[in-house]
């Protein structure tokens, strides 16, 4: 049923018909817009999209404008997943009842949420939708901070980041907790397909999105979305920031199929030290003070251990 584009090179992909158009007011350099374009342009199928309250929503549907050349709904911060589940169910019913002719191509259902909407306030709703097995793709635009409200910590904020509600100060190095492992949690729901993607590895991303669209049941995609405003790099450095994330293995690219089979989809030729990733972003600037250096060491150890774990799981096929 799916009608997906052949991805030959970036040029043909980037000139494909747009479903996510101009007239948005996302920050220059925002990775959200890159990711959303890549997701929507990965398929020619009709799309029904929901968005959680957040940067993406408030910047792309400001009345009387809209950036969405597809069916789109925003209800609240927490319920983008349940809104799309409702629409997906309605599609089933109207086909069963014959009110949508049987030969009408099946649309795809996608929900977008930031890390606040995904890891925190909307988590219950996503969990419910995945448990019930609705046929849709949930894409988390993970910028590791509540960016829309001006830079508060979320449960995706990594240890040592300075945020407005977990600020670095004379006696604090900022965020104290490690980032929640959302991918494992979503895989444990029995989802047929979960994956981490990053916009700099666009071919890997589009492949995973297309696989997601071809999968029946709830699919979870965690997309690293570098935030120029809150991570405080220059707007033209978005892809560089993403490169550092994937090449330092701070944000490894992999997929889990049916909750068990794990595939690492990107192995950097030259692994960059975590220190370089942190040094690139002023939100971690204070970690380079002597009293905080131990956090950088802890970072590196944890990233190494995680990489080791992912490789072992890939080999073990469990």
């Amino acid at each position: 049923m799916s009608n997906q584009k052949e991805i030959k090179n970036l040029k043909t992909f980037s000139t494909a018909a747009e479903r996510f158009e101009g007239s948005h007011v996302l920050c220059p350099g925002c990775a959200h817009s890159i990711i959303v374009r890549e997701v929507l342009n990965a398929t020619n199928d009709n799309l029904v999209v929901s968005a959680a309250t957040g940067c993406l929503e408030v910047c792309t549907a400001i009345y009387p404008h809209t950036s969405w050349d597809c069916s789109w709904i925003h209800i609240g911060f927490e319920n983008a997943s349940t809104a799309i589940a409702g629409a997906e169910t309605m599609n089933k019913v109207l086909r069963k009842k014959g009110r949508i002719p049987a030969d009408t191509p099946q649309p795809k259902f996608v929900a977008f949420g930031g890390d606040g909407a995904t890891y925190d306030i909307g988590f219950q709703f996503i969990s419910g939708c995945f448990e019930r097995g609705h046929d849709f793709m949930y894409v988390c635009l993970d910028n590791e901070v509540y960016a829309n409200t001006g830079g508060q910590r979320s449960s995706s904020t990594p240890i040592g980041a300075s945020t407005t509600t977990a600020p670095a100060g004379t006696v604090s190095y900022g965020e104290k907790k490690n980032k929640k492992d959302i991918l494992s949690i979503m895989a444990a729901h029995g989802s047929p397909y979960v994956a981490q993607v990053a916009p700099n590895k666009w071919k890997d991303m589009v492949k995973k999105i297309q696989r997601g669209f071809d999968t029946e049941g709830p699919v979870f995609i965690n997309a690293m979305s570098a935030c120029t405003t809150e991570w405080r790099f220059k707007p033209d450095q978005t892809i560089e920031a993403s490169d550092l994330a994937t090449d330092s293995l701070v944000f490894p690219l992999y997929e889990i199929i049916d909750g068990t089979e794990l595939n690492i989809t990107y192995r950097p030729k030259n692994i960059v030290p975590v220190r370089d990733y942190l040094a690139f972003q002023p939100r971690f600037k204070h970690l380079f003070a002597p009293e905080n250096e131990h956090i950088i060491e802890e970072w590196q150890k944890r990233v190494d251990a995680r990489w080791e774990y992912l490789q072992r799981r890939e080999e073990a096929r469990v």
Binding site: N46, V48, S50, E57, V58, A61, I62, Y63, P64, T66, W68, D69, C70, S71, W72, I73, H74, I75, G76, E78, N79, T82, A83, I84, A85, G86, A87, T89, M90, N91, K92, V93, L94, K96, K97, R99, I100, P107, Q124, F125, S127, G128, E131, R132
Partner: protein
């Protein structure tokens, strides 16, 4: 419809929850998303049972919370089909955020609200705390006083909600336990008559219509927000006339006549009470008793709680000398909501009866006919004196020393 035909008798013995479920079945609702809560649970249980036995064609999504229930309904409604759910009390409180979103997006949804007290203290019984919580949410709100009326109102809710001039969600209220769990004779319409009365669902701006992509739930600032809310309010106010029309059409198919303001004994009433829900039926019995005693009593019940029928209430009360507005909800630091509404309705008319506010029946406490008679007798004192003979507000039927507030 592909669903199995359900054989109905001319008269069925249904409680209010079954009445709701049957109305949902006959409306051929496409998607029901729900989460159980006492005393509305059986509405969805009955419906799920009909679904499990092939009498329902649509889908039932048993979600993980009431917030998700209404979120699913809004998503499904925006997709382009008929949706409904049921809830009570804390469940309504949890879904209230989405109530505003449904009405703001002009999505037709029918909510069977089985009225119950709000915690704390936790209480599963009937009062109007949850009904009052929906006051400003932009939904049309209808009230029923018996299982028959619950069935009728829920059926009519679909027709009102989906009407081209309305396109707003509708609440069909009934009293928890007093109506929802009391089995009475109900005369259902046949499936065919009921469905044809409501009609096929006509999608508007449906997300599943891919010939015309649509953006629902936009962001507005001061530049447009006011205009959106003004249009929404205008539609809600105008829905009163649609409700009247639907009531008239319903009378033609059912023989049952409804008014947006119900009243009894008001032709010559000097003293009246205004109330919601099952208290209306008790008050009718009290009125009959008092008329025998020579007290000219009457009772008024707004069938339509939103939009509030200000003019019709004022007209119905125009000859009353003393009126008690009965609020079945904890007053929260002021006079009851119904008192405020009725006072607002009367203030600019020449009829300016003495007004009392009675807070009663919280958490399911009975309001007996004898107590109602006592209220009328107090009102009669006010009417004779031409002024309040007590304080404005009284908590009636509460244990302990009398609680009354607000002296003029």
């Amino acid at each position: 419809m592909n669903s199995k035909q359900m054989e109905l008798n001319t008269v069925e013995v249904w409680d209010g929850n079954m009445a709701n479920a049957q109305a949902l079945r006959q409306a051929a609702v496409d998607v029901v998303a729900a989460y159980p809560i006492t005393p509305s649970t059986a509405t969805v249980e009955n419906y799920a049972s009909m679904h499990a036995n092939g009498y329902v064609d649509g889908e039932v999504i048993m979600v993980e919370s009431e917030h998700a229930a209404m979120s699913g309904c809004v998503g499904a409604g925006a997709a382009g089909g008929r949706v409904a759910t049921a809830t009570s009390s804390q469940g309504l409180a949890l879904m209230i955020e989405v109530l505003y979103q449904a009405s703001g997006m002009r999505i037709p949804v029918v909510l069977c609200l089985v009225n119950r007290a709000l915690a704390a203290p936790l209480n599963v019984n009937g009062d109007h705390s949850d009904l009052y919580l929906t006051r400003d949410s932009g939904w049309v709100s209808l009230d029923s006083f018996s299982p028959q009326e619950a069935y009728d109102m829920t059926l009519m809710s679909f027709k009102i909600s989906e009407h081209e001039k309305v396109r707003l969600p509708v609440i069909s209220n009934q009293d928890g336990f007093m109506t929802s769990h009391t089995a009475q004779n109900v005369r259902p319409l046949s499936d065919e008559v009921a469905y044809n009365f409501i009609g096929d669902y006509k999608p508007l701006n449906a997300m599943l219509d891919f010939s015309k992509p649509v953006t629902h739930g936009v962001q507005t600032e001061h530049d447009w927000h006011f205009e959106h809310k003004a249009k929404q309010h205008a539609a809600l106010m105008a829905s009163k006339e649609v409700v009247k029309e639907v009531f008239e059409e319903f009378e033609k198919v059912s023989g049952r006549k409804y008014n947006i303001v119900e009243s009894y004994g008001m032709e010559d009433a000097e003293v009246a009470i205004v109330c919601l829900g099952t208290t209306y039926e008790s008050a009718i019995l009290a009125v009959d008793k008092l008329k025998e005693e020579g007290i000219k009593a009457g009772v008024v019940a707004p069938r339509l709680f939103r939009p509030f029928p200000l003019v019709e209430i004022a007209q119905t009360l125009q000859n009353a000398k003393a009126v008690a507005c009965m609020d079945r909800s904890a007053p929260g630091g002021t006079v009851g909501a119904l008192y405020n509404e009725v006072a607002g309705a009367l203030f600019n008319t020449s009829a300016r009866p003495v007004l009392r506010n009675l807070i009663y029946g919280l958490g399911g406490r009975d309001m007996t006919i004898n107590e109602l008679c006592d209220i009328y007798r107090d009102l009669n004192k006010d009417a004779k004196a031409g002024k309040l003979t007590g304080k404005i507000q009284k908590l009636t039927g509460v244990r302990g020393p009398e609680l009354s507030f607000y002296e003029l």
